[in-house]
C-alpha cells in the first residue's frame, strides 16, 4: 500500500527565489509526523505546496497513490487534505459558527457536518460559548482553537497544522496538543509544523528536520529526540 502522502523531490519558490529545493517526505495513514526547522527553512512553503497554494515546479505529490501536485487548491481539499495555516487566518468578520461552516465548505453531508460541529464544540467548549461572536474578536488562543477546529470540519484524511503553538500561553498549547492527539486517535493523519520542537517530537511518531529548503535529517521521533545535531540546534537545554 502506498503511503497516505508522498512528497517526492519537490521544488517550489516565489518568483525567482527558490525556497524548496528537492523536498521528499511521507506521511503514513494514522501517523503524526513533525516537520521542524529554523525560521525561514521552508516549512510553511512545504505545507502551502502540498495544499496547492504554492505550485511545485518540479517533483510530484501523491495522496493515497493519486497524483495531486497539478490540482487546484480547492480540489485538494476535496481529496481530503485540510490545512490550518500559519497565523491562523481566521475570517475576522464571520462568526465562529460561520468560520466552522466554511471549514466544511467542501462537504455536502448535512448530518455529518452537524455531528462534526457538535464534536468541535465538545473538543473546544469555549468556541461554543463564542459561537455568534465575530472571529476577529477572539483572543489569540481562541483563534488558534478555531483554526484547528475549522480544518477538522473538512473531515480530512490528512491534517496540515502550521505552528499551532505560535505565541500562545503554555496552558493553551497543551490543550491544543491534547486535541491534536485526540484527532489522531480518531484516525486523522497529521503533518505538524512546529518551532516547539521538543513538544512536537514528543507527540509525533516520526519527524523531519528542514534546513534552507531541504530535508537534512529524518527518523522516528525517539531517534530525533536523542540525535546530537537535533539536540544542539533545536532542543537547546
Amino acid at each position: 500500500m502506498p503511503p497516505l502522502l508522498e512528497v517526492d523531490d519537490v521544488y517550489a519558490g516565489y518568483g525567482p527565489i527558490e525556497v524548496l529545493k528537492g523536498i521528499s517526505l511521507t506521511v503514513d495513514t494514522g501517523e503524526i509526523v513533525a516537520l521542524i526547522g529554523a525560521n525561514g527553512a521552508g516549512k510553511t512553503s512545504t505545507l502551502l505546496s502540498i495544499s496547492g497554494c504554492l505550485p511545485a515546479r518540479r517533483g510530484s505529490m501523491r495522496l493515497a497513490g493519486q497524483e495531486i501536485h497539478a490540482l487546484p487548491a480547492h480540489e485538494i481539499v476535496h481529496r481530503g487534505i485540510c490545512h490550518s495555516p500559519e497565523g491562523r487566518k481566521i475570517f475576522p468578520r464571520l462568526t465562529v459558527l460561520e468560520n466552522l461552516q466554511m471549514g466544511a465548505f467542501s462537504r455536502r453531508d448535512k448530518p455529518g457536518i452537524e455531528r462534526d460541529l457538535a464534536h468541535a464544540f465538545e473538543l473546544f467548549p469555549i468556541l461554543a460559548e463564542r459561537k455568534h461572536q465575530a472571529g476577529g474578536t477572539l483572543s489569540g488562543g481562541e483563534q488558534q482553537m478555531l483554526a484547528v477546529a475549522r480544518a477538522m470540519m473538512g473531515r480530512p484524511k490528512l491534517l496540515l497544522l502550521d505552528e499551532p503553538s505560535l505565541g500562545l500561553a503554555p496552558m493553551i498549547v497543551l490543550k491544543i496538543f491534547e486535541v491534536v492527539r485526540k484527532l489522531n486517535d480518531e484516525g486523522i493523519s497529521i503533518l505538524l509544523v512546529e518551532q516547539a520542537a521538543r513538544m512536537a517530537l514528543k507527540l509525533a511518531h516520526r519527524g523531519y528536520v528542514m534546513e534552507m529548503g531541504q530535508i537534512t535529517i529524518a527518523g522516528t521521533a525517539a531517534e530525533l529526540l536523542t540525535d546530537k545535531r537535533v539536540q544542539d540546534a533545536y532542543l537547546g537545554e
Binding site: 487546484p72 487548491a73 480547492h74 481539499v77 487566518k89 475570517f91 475576522p92 464571520l94 466554511m102 465548505f105
Partner: protein, 318 residues
Amino acid sequence: MFPVLLAAAEAPDAWQTFLQYTLIGLSNGALFALVALGYTMVYGIIELINFAHGEVFMLGSFLALALIGVMGLEEAALWQRWLGIGLLFVVVPIFCGALNVGIDLAVYKPLRDAPKLAPLVSAIGVSFVLMNVGLLWGGAADRHFPDLVSRENLLGSEAALSFTYKDLMIVAVTVPIMIALSVFVKGTRLGKAMRATAQDPLAAKLMGINADRVISVTFAIGGALAGAAAVIYGLYINTVSYQMGFTNGLYAFTAAVLGGIGNIPGAVLGGLVIGLARAFGSGYVGERWTSALVFVILIAILVFRPAGLLGTHAREKV
C-alpha cells in the same frame, strides 16, 4: 444644511420643499447605491477598482433602449408595457452580468497575480473601449429614452409633495434587490464563501472554496445590479448617452468610497448620502455646483476618513 433648516422653520412651505428634496435625494441615491454595489463587491473580492463598471451600466441602458424599440413598447397597450418593462428588468441585468464576467475573464483574470497597477490600468482601458462601443452603438448625441412610466403624482395632483409612479418604480425595484442581496450574502453558502474570500483569499482557498468561481459570481451580481440600475435610469431620467457611464460611475464610485470601499451596507449608505447631497445641492445651491459638491465630499472623505463611513479595512488587518 443648517441654513436650510432655519429657512424651513420660518415658512411651512420650506418644510415641504425640504421634504421634496429629501425624497428626490433618496430615490436618486438608491440608483447610485445599485451601481456603487458593483464597485464595492468587486473591490471587496479582488481589490480592483473596476473602472469599466460605469460603461457596463451605460451599455445596459442602450440595450434597454434597443429592446424597447424592438418590442414596440411605446405604442403598446398598458399591460403589454408593464410586461415589457418587467422583461427589461430580466434581460438587461443578465446581459450586464454576462458582460462583466466576460471582461473579468478576458482582461483581469490573466493579471490576477500581477502588481495591482496592471489590472487597474487595464480597467481604465476597458472603460474607454466600452465607451467607444457605446459611441458607435448610440451616436454622440443624447438619446431620448421613451417615457414609459407615468409622472402622475401618487399623492394626488393637488398635493404639495410629489411622489410619482417613477419614484415608486425606483423603490419597488431597489428595495427588494437590496434585501435579496443581503439575504444572499449573509445567509447562503455561496454568499458566505464570497465574504470569506473577501476577508482572506488564502484561507478561503484552504477551505476548498473555488476562488475563480466566487470572483465570477461577484462580477455577475455586480453587473446585474448595474443592469437593473441602467433600466431604472433610462425610465426615470429619459435621456441616455455614451457618457452617462462615466459621470454616474464617478458618483457611484464616490458613494462606494464614502461608505467604505468593499463594504456592502456602506455602498447603500454612501449612495443615499450622495443622492441627498446632490438633491440639496441643486435645490439650495444651484444645479451647476452639484458635481463639485460631490467631489468635495470625495476629497474630504479621502483626507479625513479614508476607510469610509462604515469602513473596516483598518480594523480587519489585525
